[in-house]
Symmetry: D3
Subunit: 321 residues, 6 copies
């Protein structure tokens, strides 16, 4: 490829931008135009967002040059289609890590991620655990965190709804903990229980999801679900701690099974304790605000977003728009 | 007490019946009439049903003679109050087992029970397990049944809604199994999975309920619930069986978490397999028919029962009324 | 057309298959590409399924060669569009029955049908009636069946939701009868009533639908609906049978008006008898399982189907996928 | 009974009123006080309303003097119990028609009735029919009205919800017709169809209810329901009119099956025509206003009624209260 | 443009019509075909309806010739795309009012409008006010009408659901008034209150919507909503009328806050007066009938419309179709 | 009354306690026993709770001695009726303030109140306002608070559901503010808007309720409701502040109209901003926790409360019960 200018990150792209860049290809499909010509439709991602694209020329050749899931080097030009940006790809090929890092290729730049540094989040997590006063609860949290450390640092919180990016699980977990603890302070609730509930409420997602740059549901995830899987993880860890008080076990399990708040949202049991009510409120609010922020961050005309079908309303971007 | 005639079982009582009998006292309350006089309000049970009663005379003396939960010997007369039968109690005292068995007292006569002999049901349960072809499933069922054998033979299926009597759990479990297997035959579903699902779907009730002649919810029962408790029981039993296939484990757990059929009925996950759909249909129908039979068995005028608020309709008793 | 190889049935087609075949054309539309060129979009059906297609070349000529609803002879090649198979049609013309049967054209091969032989189902239907003990019920069923014999053998059970193919009505009716009778045996319900309810519950569809290779709603079907139409059919047949007991009439009509089980599903009255509850459960389960089987039979990657919006969930294909 | 002063009609009774009067006894129950004494609880009705009562003295004697459903002569005094008026009955006996009419007994004075003269309503009904232009519709209405004339003049419109008194059926029917026709004029809808829909929408209640001073559901009423029963009545009458246009039949049947407006209110089919929408709106509004008027007419303190559970709100009596 | 024949109004267009005409352009988007070519997609409106269109040739040139919101002169030919008519535009340019009026351009011909003459509606509105007897209510209505006169004559009643065209607000308001008054006559309700409620129920839409040939929501419209905005308008006008009775104010405000009838439809309070019930019924019916008429007016095959998702059903066009 | 011992406050009463005390009488009704004797049923309140009671002897005399709404001096003995405590009253008379204060009568001891000192809450309220940075918001809050100062210090937050006692309004308002601000800090929301939303969200209750020791709904409260009334209060105050930014006004009004969170809970508009979402979550959680605490504070056996119908579940009291 010629030494043209480098494309900016996805969030900063605008119409008529032209140049080359590195991306993760998360979708790839060879399609046929109405008059029979082949073209490639694809989606490219970097750490700031996603953009659709098309390879219109030499599709037959370029289709061999990369697969879905590959990091790719791409040259092209941005235009719009039905009001959304897309990249008209002129050249595309699989990344050659050794060679391309000389031009600045870094895997981390190409994967949609939380904006918070992982190490900072990890530190916050450990601090939360260190502040737990009950030794059984502290030991329980420490063990479960240690056991899932690797996944916890990388995992997203969901497929599409909220925090659907690398590190999103940890970001959501910490946010729920922060919110639940501040609510707990307002109502004099048990701090240790709230920390446990917040850190463990979605722990079943470690088994519900599968993440390797792209997120999918596991078999257990679909058929058993993270609410029950999480309770099993916790029960199993508790059984391995001699002398863990039974009433404490029940309280922690209660927070996990009830954290969706209402039966129609998938909670087999609804919150029966102040701590359970606080956790469900914190989880619900954090999820809604994450959805709202994603919607508000999308480009668009006017003060209001398009209709958000999950929330059942439009959102306001503020007067400055 | 004088050697009068013995009262018939509750179901056969009618107005003006007079005499003595043995019962379980399941409710007892000392109340004060509007003009200040004391009386005792109570509920008496035998294996055929329940009847309310009052001790109007000498309440201060008789209140010391028995407690809620005692087997009692009672002498009195049946009349009606607001259209329902009640027993006007003239004498009442705690049973003296050694002495009273000479007059025919038998605990089993005084406890509301399934009409099916327990041993016959137990045999049917074991036969179902014996017909399971997959050795892992068979072993799983055998172990769980063995472990809970004592409770399984006695437990009711619920506090009030359906099969709320001694042996009701086993009766409901076998009925669901019979129905699920016949539906499975019609649709070519997996027989072993259906047997496992039917026998285990409510196994969490062994921990959800507490039964000692009278039924209550346990702490875990309220706060965690039988759907999740049952899945944990099964997971734990499976882990103890070396080589238990993982996909089989997921399928069985799926049937337990999804057996309430819909999220608003407390299923954290809805049936995603033919076997899961069949089990949920069998459980729902068996519960509804049990409720209907209880309603139809109650005394009443006319072809239709009173309005059944749980079912949201009246039921038809048939033309022969 | 040249003597090329013959295309397999729809269910067995795969990419790059090429050749000719006979189909029923169920959709046909002349469209214009973005740059003005004409093409024909169509859907072709045979007894195993449906496939979309396009005539890209000589559309102006071929559009005169066939209409929607015709049996057609087609030559073309299979490719994919957005992940689904389609047929790129090179030649297409109306079937000439006399001439084309020499090449193997058979109407029955081109119409989506139940897999069960109609005569076998017809025999089963008559056997069910023969087993009815009550002479009035038997006579009622015999008369209604006789009167609608021709339609009963061909009709589908619905437009799109379930059993939406030739013979689907009979297949669904017999399946509901089989299931209801086995449930009835488990609960000691009245066999004759269940047979009558099962065979008659959808009889109003004979007037609700219109089927002539393709299914549509009639005016009465939309404006009155099969629940009420069916009750009228039954009432009218009963009035023609002298001495038909009135209470029996009410019971049978009750099963028809209540067979959708709940008001929000279109039952003006909800089941008030054990038989009514069983029939509604059998109909609901048979419909759900039919939907599930259709979904599971569709091609797709992975263990799970795509999201089924009618059922509100994905379905599991099993581990072998 | 001594020649005391005569009690006023129920609506005009107030505390401490004393004297004798004629009533219909609609409820009678012999009960036992907490200290064993017998008393009779009863409900007495006249054309203006209902009042509860008790026979405290000589209950054993008076219980033989009358039955539920009898017209009775009563002597007593009004007092209040828990804020509601009741009649403390001193004497009560069955009416002797011949003798008591000398003292002014008239059956019509003792039965809760519409305030509109029946003959006036009957005239209005016939005028509505006379204004129908389509000869088939007119003939249909005339025949059905003639056939049910006797019941139509007496029947209530429902058991308890609205227009639950003698003549209430006709009153409701005419009100719906008046409202539907005025709505129809506003929207240019078909007048004949609206007249037919209004006069026939509840005609199934002639078979759903049984009224002989007191209202009950029939077997067909509960198990089949007035929506379907009414459609059958209409279908049957239409079949007896040679040449009745089929499309007209469907339109009229559509208005009957859809008049509850929504599936969850028991309409198996929802309105698909302007006329159907108007009829459903007229029926719904007339029912709601009838409920509201009954609630507003009840005695009570303050500007607002008590909470109306069917309507889910309180109602405003106006500032003058 | 050459002196060809003039196109008819939109409602009368049919395939292969060719010529020129004047329209309002309500949508305009420059798109790229799959093979890279530019074209313009647009929507053209006149007083009878809307039609989509495409500029396939010389798109780069014509894109400069007009903008969304302009009146345009267009030359082209009608064809169909996926069963709907579209206009293939050959030439298009902004209207030059002075010059084009010589050829018959009139703004009013190009804007979708009510079919009722505005002056006639305005006269009807004033007559309604003149008939109000209470001087306070009359003054209130007169002032609010005067203040919003300009908007009232032009505004639509909604963005898309019903009466979504110029003058639609007034048309809907008058229709609700007519219907509410005729219902009020049937039930003896307060005429003045009903007139006030009907004329003011949607007055908040003057602030909720913004209309300048095209309709949008205002910031206040989205964030506060017309129900509350309307109540504020009324409260403010009342405060400016010395001596306005407080109870009358409350009654009028009640009708505005409750006019959506049910909480789930956005009424913060549900109707608690006969007048409130009538207004909510009139508004609901008028909205439904307006939707139905729009659906029935759309072109289509057969007796029934396509499925109307807002109404949840198909509608019947009548037998003559 | 004789110089017996003084009764403790209501919360501390137990069976067989005997003596005299001062209370507020909030209910009083003269009733008749089944055998005709009069007695007085009443409810007595002090700052810690409520207790029912009966005057069985000399009812005719004591009924003249006090009215509902009076402070009363009472002598009696505590017993139980159907498991709840009640006071058997031997003497009762209206308080004579001058004389009785010598024996320790203080109005504040007899009115159910928040446990927080009013002056402390008032200080906290003013501090919240002082921390608002935007001068317009601060001025708005200051004015509204000043205008309603007297009511704000005394009012309850609701009739029965939550914070239904003197000072409850202020307690709830401050709690929502505290919670909303801590949530706002977690999500970087606008602090001034949250303070305004929290302090004003229920301000309409100043007009919705009427409180003079006992709480009732006003006419405007029922017919217009506090959501709309509060928006009007705010709009009116803003109009009196020259230069108040319009966008700020809309944002504050949005928080008031949307604070019930969902349409079915009476929000005519749902939250469309992060601040609106936070406020609705804070209000909902504070209400639920207040309900839960009231339920948990009630006496009862066992670890779980009775079924809470508003919350649809039982609550857990904790293991120590």
């Amino acid at each position: 490829m010629p030494p043209e200018s480098r494309l900016s990150f996805v969030r900063a792209l605008s119409v008529d931008a032209e140049g080359w860049g590195f991306f993760l290809c998360t979708q790839k499909e060879v399609r046929q135009g109405r008059t029979g010509e082949l073209f490639i439709w694809l989606v490219l991602q970097d750490k700031t967002g996603s953009i659709g694209g098309r390879v219109l020329k030499d599709a037959a050749r370029f289709r061999e040059e990369f697969d879905r899931g590959d990091f790719v080097k791409v040259q092209g030009r941005v235009d719009t289609n039905n009001g959304r940006l897309q990249l008209l790809v002129e050249r595309i090929r699989r990344v050659n890590p050794d060679q391309d890092k000389l031009q600045g290729f870094r895997e981390d730049d190409c994967v949609l991620s939380t904006t918070r540094p992982v190490d900072e989040m990890w530190g916050e997590l450990n601090e939360l655990i260190a502040h737990v006063q009950d030794p059984f609860v502290r030991m329980l949290l420490q063990r479960i965190i240690d056991e899932h450390a690797e996944k916890l640092r990388l995992w997203p919180a969901a497929l599409t709804v909220h925090h659907a990016y690398r590190g999103g699980f940890l970001e959501h977990t910490l946010s729920v903990a922060r919110v639940a603890l501040s609510l707990g302070a307002a109502y004099g609730a048990n701090k240790d229980l709230l920390t446990a509930g917040a850190l463990l409420h979605d722990i079943g997602k470690m088994e519900e999801l599968d993440y390797d740059r792209v997120t999918t549901y596991t078999r257990d995830g679909n058929l058993v679900g993270h609410v029950t899987l999480g309770t099993i993880v916790v029960r199993s860890a508790i059984l391995a701690i001699p002398g863990f008080p039974d009433v404490l076990r029940t309280q922690i399990e209660h927070m996990i099974v009830s954290h969706h708040g209402r039966k129609e949202f998938g909670a087999p049991v609804e919150p029966m304790t102040i701590e359970g009510m606080i956790l469900a409120a914190a989880d619900d609010l954090d999820t809604k605000i994450s959805q709202a922020r994603t919607a508000l961050a999308e480009e668009g005309d006017g003060e209001f977003t398009v209709y958000q079908s999950r929330l059942g309303r439009v959102l306001w971007r503020g007067p400055g728009f």
